[in-house]
């Protein structure tokens, strides 16, 4: 009973805020509603027992992606009203294409068959199931560096390429920049830069 109540609470707020994301006039409000939607989706995942995906959603999507959106929206200062002006024209075409795709998927869905093993066999049923049930995070941690080491390292190489790419394409060496050099500052002696001159009164330097 309580679980159902919480589910409907999360699901209701999720749907409403998703709706607000596309209807809100102010783009900053859209992004804030998006964050609310992510939080509620994370709540739903936790209810399903997938706490790791829930945490990922909060950390990656709220912590990084949505904040990045917020920055972009605030920094670009775009006229969103101008952008929206023509968009109503595309709605009929969009609905038509979406309708065609949906009909196709429904037709296909009614006839296709799923591998029966997928429906009956879940992770918990396999013979190697441990006596103390593992949490999601522990289960993922156990296979990521062992069974999936090849894929994991491959993904690491992709991130390396992404980093090299970002640096190659954006880093510019600019001349004439003043940078702080701590070592040089430390090495500086009074005798290098100071000169004491005797000034006789009345003559000036």
């Amino acid at each position: 009973m309580l679980a159902a109540l919480i589910f409907y609470l999360f699901a209701g707020i999720l749907s409403l805020s998703a709706l607000m994301v596309i209807t809100a006039r102010n783009p900053v409000h859209s992004v804030l509603f998006l964050i609310l939607a992510f939080f509620n989706a994370a709540g739903l995942f936790v209810m399903l027992g997938a706490e790791f995906i829930g945490m990922l959603l909060v950390i990656v999507y709220v912590g990084a992606v949505a904040v990045l959106f917020l920055f972009v929206v605030m920094m670009l200062n775009m006229e969103f009203k101008e952008l929206r002006k023509g968009s109503m024209r595309f709605i009929p075409v969009g609905l038509l294409l979406g309708g065609v795709l949906l009909t196709e998927l429904v037709i296909v869905y009614q006839t296709w068959k799923i591998n029966p093993k997928v429906l009956t066999e879940t992770l918990g049923d396999s013979a190697a199931a441990p006596e103390v049930p593992l949490t999601n995070t522990e289960a993922l941690g156990q296979i990521l560096y062992t069974d999936y080491i090849y894929i994991f390292q491959g993904a690491g190489m992709i991130l390396l390429v992404a980093m090299i790419g970002a640096i190659v394409l954006t880093l510019r060496e600019r001349s004439g920049l003043k940078r702080q050099k701590v070592a040089d500052q430390q090495k500086r002696q009074a005798s290098d830069v100071l000169e004491i001159k005797k000034v006789t009164p009345g003559t000036g330097i």
Partner: protein, 480 residues
């Protein structure tokens, strides 16, 4: 040997390449001076070293890394070709990059990492490793297309390539998720088993396969997924264009061969139709759209689209005969393209790189040797006997007729006759048109070496075309 929980023997070449690339990256980043050239030569040596490691491996079929990685004689042959051609492409590009003042030391590193991605692709035995390999090679290539970042056209090429490439990666992922949803596994062997146990999930799997195939068609630039090719080839620096034209398509074609022969063999009647359309469309687009091109790089882009069409014929026919003919054809195509790009990169006119076909006017009078070399390459590309390109086409069409695909063979011959027009036009411009401005040929030892090797391969195959065909057919036998 250290005792590891999983055997890494089969992936030693990949590990070497990855560690070598990272080592060179650190050297490049720490060095005070710009050492792009030195790093390029080191990268060529690393690729050749990796090739020898690969050759010393056992090429019997073995699956390792928890089912993600397969090593067999097919993967061995393709990986050797990828490594050697990448070394060739790097040798081609060193002089060019220096002259065009593209000094980013990351250039050879990105080439190495993209090679690593291709090796992962070729050895993929799982949808996950397929995607990781594909993404690793594409991501490095997107950056390479944009590496001349001050040029508007290079940036445009990079953006176009990136956006369309990301779209195709999305399609591949969507298709993979559908396949996973139905088969309950991403492993190629297990997908094949699940399908043969439950033939009624054909519809669901073919949905996934359509998306997977569309994404792969983007990567090999088969029509109608070819729109990005001419613009990207034109905008990218010529040395990068040479790379795009020569190597990645071999890896993607090899990947297609593997997924059609292993997990989706049971869906043959489905994918043969799709490939048929892709192949015919590519051949026709490659032949007709290239007729009006004035830019050499755009011309070669359309030529590569057409050549992918011919290569797909062999995959449609299937069996060791068809696949062997495809590999044979594509290996020769790679050698010819390397030679052609080598000559084009060496030619200069008033200090600027060559772009227009008409700039070749009267080349036979000032540079007869180079003109004859380019003429041999063009004759070979258009498939005129007795050049190697003729044998490539001959074996492809022979396999198509033997497999009962008469229409495909007829369309192939027709489009290759049309395509011969623009290859021969280059020869006509070189030999029969009057020279307007002087051409300079810039000698560069590694580049000239690549051109000589390319010519040797093409003329050598004229004398004995059979051994390579037998080699490719034996290699593809390990897929079945």
């Amino acid at each position: 040997m250290i005792n590891l929980p999983i055997s890494i023997d089969a992936i030693i070449p990949e590990i070497t390449l990855a560690c070598g690339a990272m080592f060179l990256l650190i050297i490049g980043a720490l060095s005070k001076r710009i050492i792009t050239n030195t790093l390029s030569y080191a990268a060529v040596l690393l690729l050749i070293f990796t090739f020898f490691l690969l050759v010393s491996l056992n090429w019997d079929t073995s699956i390792s890394m928890n089912g993600f990685f397969v090593m067999d004689s097919f993967a061995g042959l393709i990986k050797s070709a990828v490594l050697l051609s990448m070394a060739g492409v790097l040798a081609l590009s060193t002089g060019y990059m220096k002259r065009e003042e593209i000094v980013a030391f990351e250039y050879p590193i990105l080439v190495l990492l993209s090679t690593l991605g291709m090796m992962v692709m070729v050895s993929a035995n799982d949808l996950l490793s397929l995607y990781i390999g594909l993404e690793l090679q594409s991501l490095a290539l997107y950056v390479l297309a944009t590496i001349r970042r001050n040029s508007l056209r290079s940036a445009e090429a990079g953006i176009k390539y990136f956006v369309l490439g990301a779209l195709s990666s999305g399609m591949i992922l969507f298709g993979s998720s559908i396949i996973y949803g139905f088969a309950g596994t991403t492993n190629f062997t297990a997908i094949a088993e699940a399908f043969s146990a439950n033939p009624d999930m054909k519809l669901g799997l073919s949905m996934g396969l359509v998306f997977l195939l569309s994404g792969l068609a983007f990567k090999i630039s088969a029509a109608p997924f070819h729109m990005w090719t001419p613009d990207v080839y034109e905008g990218a620096p010529t040395s990068v264009t040479a790379l795009f034209a020569i190597v990645p398509k071999l890896a993607a074609l090899a990947l297609m061969m593997r997924i059609f022969c292993e997990p989706f063999m049971g869906l043959q009647d489905m994918w043969v139709q799709i490939l048929w359309v892709l192949s015919v469309a590519s051949m026709l687009v490659g032949a007709f759209a290239a007729l009006t091109q004035e830019n050499i790089k755009r011309l070669l882009a359309y030529s590569s689209i057409g050549n992918v069409g011919y290569a797909l014929i062999g995959i449609i026919v299937g069996g060791t005969g068809g696949l062997g003919a495809t590999l044979y054809y594509f290996l020769i195509y790679m050698a010819m393209t390397a030679g052609t790009f080598g000559i084009i990169m060496s030619l200069r006119r008033e200090g600027a790189s060559l772009e227009k076909i008409e700039s070749l006017e009267g080349m036979s009078k000032t540079h007869p040797v180079q003109a004859y070399v380019l003429a041999i390459l063009m004759f070979s590309m258009s498939g005129i006997p007795p050049m190697a390109g003729f044998f490539g086409k001959l074996f492809i069409f022979e396999s198509a007729i033997a497999g009962g695909y008469i229409y495909l063979a007829v369309l192939g011959v027709v489009s290759s006759v049309v395509a011969a027009y623009y290859y021969l036009r280059i020869i006509k411009v070189m030999f029969f048109d009057e020279q307007v401005e002087e051409l300079q040929y810039e000698t560069n030892v590694p580049r000239d070496a690549v051109i000589i090797v390319s010519i040797l391969i093409i003329t050598g195959l004229v004398l004995m075309p059979e051994p390579l065909l037998i080699m490719t057919q034996n290699a593809t036998a390990s897929l079945f």
